[in-house]
């Protein structure tokens, strides 16, 4: 059949698939409405539909995470513990308020490192406490712990363990674990006592319930569609989107009713609700009690059969055989994990030793340090005591010898104190740049003394004898007294008296002596410069300058 046409006027009426889906949905909607009418409930609204969708989604996500963990556990050779791990996670999430979607990856990372279920569970409990105490996420803490387990302790710095970097490096994992426990133990319990903690616990529990309901929803939908796998169901859901949503609505209504009858506390979960609905509330349905009992029985036996089946070791072996196999496998796995832990400890010790050796070698290698070598060479040469002390101090600093450095620094400080006194002393001497200034001053002083002595000796001869004679007499008397006081011999005293008299005579005859000194500036500068250079090279002037420069 050819399809050569020109469409002059068309109209969009919607795709065939839409129509089919719509029709199917309408049919299903009709069926569900009938069901609703039969049990006397009205069909729910958007809230129920959203809840049902959310529950299904939560279950699917949860199942994905669980599947990842299960596969990982199997790959680690711990398949025997799959059920135990599942139960452990379920219990832990209810006890701690941490969602299983967080617990599973954390446990997985720990299992992958330790290879031991027991150790991983212990570390996970620690991790929860640490996470609650430190404010870090559980996945971060679990990752840090798993890294620490294999000797990489860098990640633990953020927990402020109160250990120095060197201590942290030198610490074993057991030490670190003890430290972490001492710091964060009980944090989770304390957190759960708070309002926020309780809210989180409630929220988490609600989410868990949602996942459980979601599982039932998916199972129910699979049953409704007559498909055996979720993939088939998903394909059908794609075709019949509206159909599915209506179906979820129908199931949601049932769940909603279940919640609304919560106050009646019916036994047997959802079936209990059925009992309440069909038997207790509607006596007319009395004969359905038997059917209800049968349903409960069937459900229990199915659940028991499922729980008894151990997929890892074969369900047909019976409980006793399964237990013995599981125990053997568990022992084997734990032994392997312990062996691995011991190996890790040996490796860590080796690493620590290598680090220490490296430090020692570094210290020894410092002998070849150029700076230190020059210091040692300088010490071996001819140097002053003070410079020797300085060099020793420098050497002590370079080698990191704190006590020696402190001691030598004290000595140098003391020596500098002495040098200062010397400077004070030298500052009293004439200016080194123009020493002749001092000479002139000395000569002028001598002149004034001579004049005074001459004046005293001339007094008797020039009419002022009483005063002059008295002055000269006093002078000579004082010389005698001083000589006797000092225990000088008479000859010495006489000699002194003689020279004093001679001096006074000379001074009296030579009234004024004028000395004129002419200095060549350039020549003097050269002399001074030479003197300074010599002093500098001999080390004397250094101390003087340093003293003046530093402390003067």
């Amino acid at each position: 059949m050819s399809n050569i046409v020109i469409d002059i006027i068309t109209q969009f009426t919607g795709k065939k698939a839409f129509k089919d889906a719509d029709n199917a949905a309408s049919k299903l909607s009709g069926s569900v409405k009938k069901l609703g009418a039969a049990i006397g409930v009205s069909l729910g609204g958007a809230a129920i539909l959203n809840f049902a969708k959310g529950a299904a989604k939560a279950f699917i996500e949860d199942e994905k995470a669980a599947s990842r963990l299960t596969q990982s556990v199997k790959n680690l050779g711990l398949a025997y513990a799959t059920d135990d791990i599942k139960k452990y996670v379920d219990q832990l999430t209810l006890a701690t308020g941490v969602s299983d979607s967080e617990l599973r990856p954390a446990l997985q990372s720990l299992l992958q490192v330790t290879g031991s279920v027991t150790k991983s569970q212990e570390l996970l409990s620690n991790a929860i406490n640490i996470a609650r105490g430190s404010g870090e996420s559980l996945s971060t803490v679990a990752n840090d712990l798993s890294q620490a387990y294999v000797g990489n302790l860098k990640g633990l710095r953020k927990y402020n363990l109160g250990l120095t970097q060197a201590e942290l490096k030198a610490a074993s994992f057991a030490d670190v674990q003890d430290r972490l426990n001492s710091l964060f133990s009980g944090s989770s319990a304390a957190y759960l006592k708070t309002y926020a903690g309780q809210m989180e616990l409630l929220s988490n529990t609600a989410n868990e319930a949602k996942e459980v309901i979601g599982k039932s929803l998916v199972d129910s939908l699979a049953m409704l569609s007559g498909k055996t796998s979720v993939e088939d169901l998903a394909n059908q859901m794609m075709d019949l989107a509206t159909n599915t949503s209506e179906a979820i609505t129908g199931v949601g209504v049932l769940l909603d009713k279940l919640n609304s009858f919560g106050g009646l506390k019916p036994s047997g979960g959802g079936l209990g609700f059925l009992k309440t609905l069909l038997v207790d509330l509607n006596p007319a349905f009395g004969p359905l009690a038997a059917l209800y009992e049968q349903l409960v029985k069937t459900g229990k036996s199915a659940t028991a059969a499922k729980n008894a089946f151990n997929f890892s070791s074969g369900g047909g072996l019976g409980t006793g055989s399964v237990k013995s196999i599981t125990d053997t496998q568990a022992k084997k796995a734990e032994d392997a994990a312990k062996k691995r832990a011991a190996e890790l400890l040996v490796v860590q010790k080796k690493q620590l030793k290598a680090t220490k050796d490296q430090t020692i070698l570094k210290k020894a290698g410092s002998i070849f340090d150029v700076e230190q070598a020059s210091t040692i060479a300088a010490l071996q040469g001819k140097i002053s005591k003070e410079d020797e002390t300085r060099l020793r101090l420098q050497f002590a600093i370079l080698t990191g010898n704190v006590s020696e450095a402190t001691k030598l620094a004290g000595q140098i400080a003391a020596a500098q104190g002495l040098t200062k006194e010397l400077v004070d002393y030298y500052s009293g001497i004439p200016n080194a740049k123009d020493p002749f200034t001092g000479w002139i001053k000395t000569l002028l002083d001598a002149e004034s003394i001579a004049k005074r002595v001459a004046g005293q000796s001339q007094m008797p001869a020039s009419g002022g004898a009483a005063a002059g004679g008295s002055t000269a007499g006093t002078l000579f008397q004082s010389i005698v007294d001083q000589g006797l006081a000092q225990g000088q011999s008479q000859a010495t005293i006489n000699s002194t008296l003689r020279y004093t008299a001679m001096g006074q005579q000379v001074m009296g005859q030579t009234p004024n002596v004028n000395v004129v000194v002419t200095l060549d500036g350039k020549e003097m500068t050269g002399i001074i410069s030479n003197v300074q250079t010599n002093n500098y090279l001999s080390g004397k002037i250094i101390a003087l300058e340093r003293t003046q420069g530093s402390f003067g």
Partner: protein
């Protein structure tokens, strides 16, 4: 591109239910608009295709070319019959089934004969070139020429192309109805649209009058 008129189906249903005269009038009016185009398309059907050395054309006299004597004897390849092709070109105002895109056609021109369809678009896919030749023993499939003559396909397309010019754009390019529609330059389309609009207005007016009468009553 075909013109989409929202509500045209509902209009036709309403007309059929409440104003059959208007519906009839509209159909007649649209047919009058489309008829020249259909006639023009029929005019492009050649009674003879010059240069076609194969036995595609049913002989008017002499040896009758049958499925067994035709060079196109393999499979169900149709023989070219100008009368049949012309008869296949027609106008339809039946509402079709929805296509894959979800559109239904309300008014259309068809080239419904198989030979007419071949004449309409032969060589369009490869812009005048024939299909790849693989011979009688080559891989199966409609994309290949299995003729014993490697140039048969090209000869066929050349002969048809010489007898009729292809006009139009993309999937609306051909030698018969597409050519006629293309040469009409959309005048017919506009006229049909106007006719629908006019009928809608008339129908609404009539409905308003009925309402007024009811109100008055």
């Amino acid at each position: 591109m075909p013109t989409e008129v929202k509500g045209v189906i509902e209009l036709r249903k309403a007309l059929r239910a409440y104003a059959p005269d208007l519906e009839k009038e509209m159909r007649r009016e649209i047919y009058a608009i489309i008829k020249p185009v259909v006639s023009q398309a029929k005019g492009y059907v050649q009674s003879e295709i010059v240069g076609l050395r194969t036995g595609w054309i049913r002989a008017s006299r002499g040896t009758k070319i049958t499925k067994s004597t035709s060079a196109f004897r393999k499979g169900g390849f149709p023989l070219y019959n100008p009368t049949e092709v012309k008869a296949g070109i027609k106008y339809s105002d039946k509402i079709t089934k929805s296509n894959r895109a979800g559109f239904v056609s309300v008014f259309q021109i068809k080239n419904s004969s198989r030979a007419g369809a071949i004449y309409e678009i032969a060589g369009r896919l490869k812009n005048g070139d024939a299909q790849d030749w693989v011979g009688p023993k080559g891989p199966a499939g409609h994309k290949y020429s299995h003729s014993q003559n490697p140039d048969a396909g090209q000869h066929f397309i050349n002969a048809i192309s010489n007898s009729g010019k292809m006009k139009g754009d993309g999937p609306r390019r051909g030698r018969l109805i597409y050519r006629a529609w293309n040469e009409n330059q959309g005048r017919a389309n506009a006229a049909v649209f106007k006719a629908i609009e006019k009928t809608t207005t008339r129908f609404n007016d009539r409905a308003s009058i009925v309402d007024l009468k009811r109100t008055a009553a």
